[in-house]
Subunit: 457 residues, 2 copies
């Protein structure tokens, strides 16, 4: 039985202190040369528009495409719209190698640059590879440590889940989130280091240090069945660990939550039809951008990328650039003494299965609703300082998104916050969220990102 | 807390004995006039071929279409084929009303005729309605008892799950399987009657009395947490109830089974492309049939239907007619004293999410593999009589399939049956199967049909 909690409660690391990780990231940032230049689409190497289909694609047919879609739905106020979307119909690896050293589990993370990163280097999983990467379509070097995942025995696999990416940006994209445990010595490399789960969660308390891929993988780690709250000083953290315990009383049973989701999945429909990017309503393709005519949401740009420590050191690719920053926020509240998360059932156009559970507030730039009357948004924006438990900027995946960061917030609701909520919201304990997380496509990536930030140190 | 088990253990019904249900079905069979006539496609009323797209469709654009698809996959021996498939992109209701009478839960079933039924009348859920039915596209009468489901309060809903239909025949089709409980008196009708769960499960022990829709709904009923094995005489039934208990030791943990499925979903891909029915490789469209040129699998026919007790009493529609009968079989075996089911991970072209858990053997007529070397098929076909725990003919849904029945078998493996199985098979307790059943698209309809047959009387 692997003791994830022990690692989450461990801050002392004989290899490197958390402070030194931050310094080390700074050093790595300086050591790695990065240059991202916006270029016209016509200067993209091996990428071009298929004029007939109206799709931006790689000449190999691999990697991903940017396509136009028409969306029709009976959800929300806007029942039809068109937009570009990223289509990458293959399952990538997001994998972390762990090793038990003196009874504590250490996670091998990588200081990795992605072209779209705000601050160049972020802590990434050991392995972060699209199928194109690991089948070596781009003829670069084989991703480091890939063989440990490919050859892992069933007994070495601690977690193996299919998880979704942003439903507003990706068409039904999923990644394999996997954690394996090795016993043997493995070769070291200057870009990689061993951290406890506690250190990773501490680092998530800072802006943009831990990348989205690391956050989604560790979000899947459950702490159910543990009852070590007394080891923790802080009341909020103590309460969170208690909420992760499978034996506490939740407001709703597991079956009641399934019924809530089933009902919404039956009531709401989403229908997608491909449209040419050149005919996508309200969008236009210029020499350098695929942009919304009202300058909203996001744009697709072309970039020339030069990075010194990647498998391929120079290339060009399309990136998605947000127009404005977004907010994702969970409101949590003690109900019968146990923390519950106010979860929203949210339909997004690229969802694999209509609806996923999302944070209380999620109005990132790809939201097509006018957010002024969004439930709970004002509550979150006007929250009293002493109720804010987490408030940082966290990056989206820099391999696809250009300098996109979202304000990520967890707020403890005040006593007078009503537990009566609109019908597409419900209250769920951390244990229940963790349990749904085991299954495909129940929690969206924004919800998982916030869950990864819950720490106990 | 609803006591499903008590209803499953109750055979005595003050309203009607099980023997009389069988007699009653016979009477209903005679009272209802049914005439199904095969006709040319050109005589279908309001159905026609869209010559350009190569699709057979209703003129309203509602109900369902028959379409051609090209399938490419890296699963199995045949990596590309084309076939017709039913496309019905809407979620239908399969709903049962229950009522507690003297402490026992009774289920309101309907003697319903579907045009494709082998024996005309079968026991169907209280409500069995496509979206076209309940939004009254066909301008018939509103389905009986619909309002109870539409108006059900959350506290009345005992079960509400999205479940798949046949992945070899339907394109990602799902139904809402729902059980509600009413307290008030509800109007009676000659086609409906109240049965205990025990009676329904007894009736499933006979050929073609309980329709597929009833079987899939009751398959979702869990018996976890109960430990009333001592009330049961029969060792096999006692063992099955024990296997449904959440506290027994299973060979694999829940997380291990999720990892097993994730791995397979990542390894195997399926890509579908629409093709015109007129250009579907190996298939031809004649005046009266869409048929496989080698006379395999199934054919699509046109039928004129006259039924006296339906919302609409006469209509015409396409139906899918099988060429040969199929077999679905679970092998079960005691491992560490607890019954485990030998489950197969199976990829079918219409699956919503690549792979679903299927019975040990499933070689119905839409299987595109040569079944002679199918694992465990010979074991099932040559099973010793004393190891056969269930062996009946069960019908597919008569609203789409013309006289299709499959041999449905549960076999208790002999002691020398190896627990080492190929990598796309695993051993799962009844509790674990019931738990996966709560989530969307984990157990296929064939597996659910066999699970519904497990009875304790």
């Amino acid at each position: 039985m692997i003791n994830f909690l022990k690692s989450a409660l461990t801050e002392v690391n004989p290899f490197i202190t958390t402070t030194n990780v931050m310094k080390w990231l700074k050093v790595r940032n300086e050591a790695i040369k990065v240059k991202v230049t916006k270029i016209p689409f016509s200067e993209l190497d091996a990428w071009s528009f298929d004029k007939e289909r109206g799709v931006l694609q790689h000449n190999s047919g691999k990697f991903f495409t940017i396509e136009g879609i028409n969306v029709k739905t009976n959800w929300g106020n806007i029942n039809e719209w068109e937009q570009p979307i990223i289509n990458q119909p293959e399952i990538g690896y997001l994998g972390i190698i762990t090793k038990e050293i003196n009874g504590v589990l250490y996670f091998l993370l990588q200081a990795k640059v992605e072209p779209g990163n705000v601050n160049n280097v972020q802590l990434s999983p050991t392995l972060q590879a699209t199928k194109s990467n690991y089948t070596q379509v781009h003829k670069g070097n084989k991703p480091r440590y890939l063989e440990y995942f490919v050859n892992a025995k069933s007994s070495q696999v601690l977690l193996d889940q299919l998880q979704s990416e942003q439903g507003g940006r990706f068409l039904r994209k999923r990644n394999r989130n996997i954690i394996i445990k090795v016993d043997e010595e493995i070769e070291e490399h200057e870009d990689f280091l061993w951290l406890t789960l506690g250190q990773i969660k501490t680092l998530i308390q800072y802006d943009n240090l831990v990348n989205m891929d690391t956050r989604t993988v560790i979000a899947g780690i459950p702490f159910d069945g543990t009852s070590k709250e007394n080891l923790i000083q802080d009341d909020y953290q103590k309460g969170m660990l208690l909420s992760a315990n499978k034996n506490v009383n939740s407001k709703y049973t597991f079956d009641e939550i399934i019924r809530w989701i089933t009902l919404l999945k039956c009531q709401f429909e989403i229908n997608l039809k491909p449209v040419s990017l050149f005919k996508t309503n309200n969008w236009e393709v210029t020499d350098t951008e695929i942009r919304n005519k009202n300058n909203k949401y996001f744009k697709v740009i072309a970039a020339k990328v030069e990075i010194s420590n990647r498998e391929v050191t120079t290339w060009s690719q399309p990136l998605v650039e947000p127009i404005t920053e977004g907010i994702i926020a969970f409101v949590v509240k003690k109900i019968n003494g146990i923390y519950h998360f106010l979860v929203q059932a949210k339909l997004e156009c690229g969802n694999f299965d209509i609806i996923e559970m999302a944070p209380t507030v999620q109005c990132i730039t790809d939201s097509y609703s006018d957010s002024s009357d969004l439930p709970f948004l004002n509550y979150v924006l006007n929250a009293k300082k002493e109720t804010i438990r987490f408030d940082t900027l966290q990056s989206e995946e820099g391999g696809r998104f250009y300098r996109e960061q979202n304000r990520s917030i967890i707020i403890e609701a005040e006593d007078d916050f009503s537990i009566d909520v609109p019908k597409n919201y419900t209250w769920i304990t951390l244990h229940q969220l963790n349990f749904f997380l085991k299954f495909n496509n129940y929690l969206n990536i924004q919800a998982r990102s916030l869950i990864s930030a819950i720490n106990f140190i």
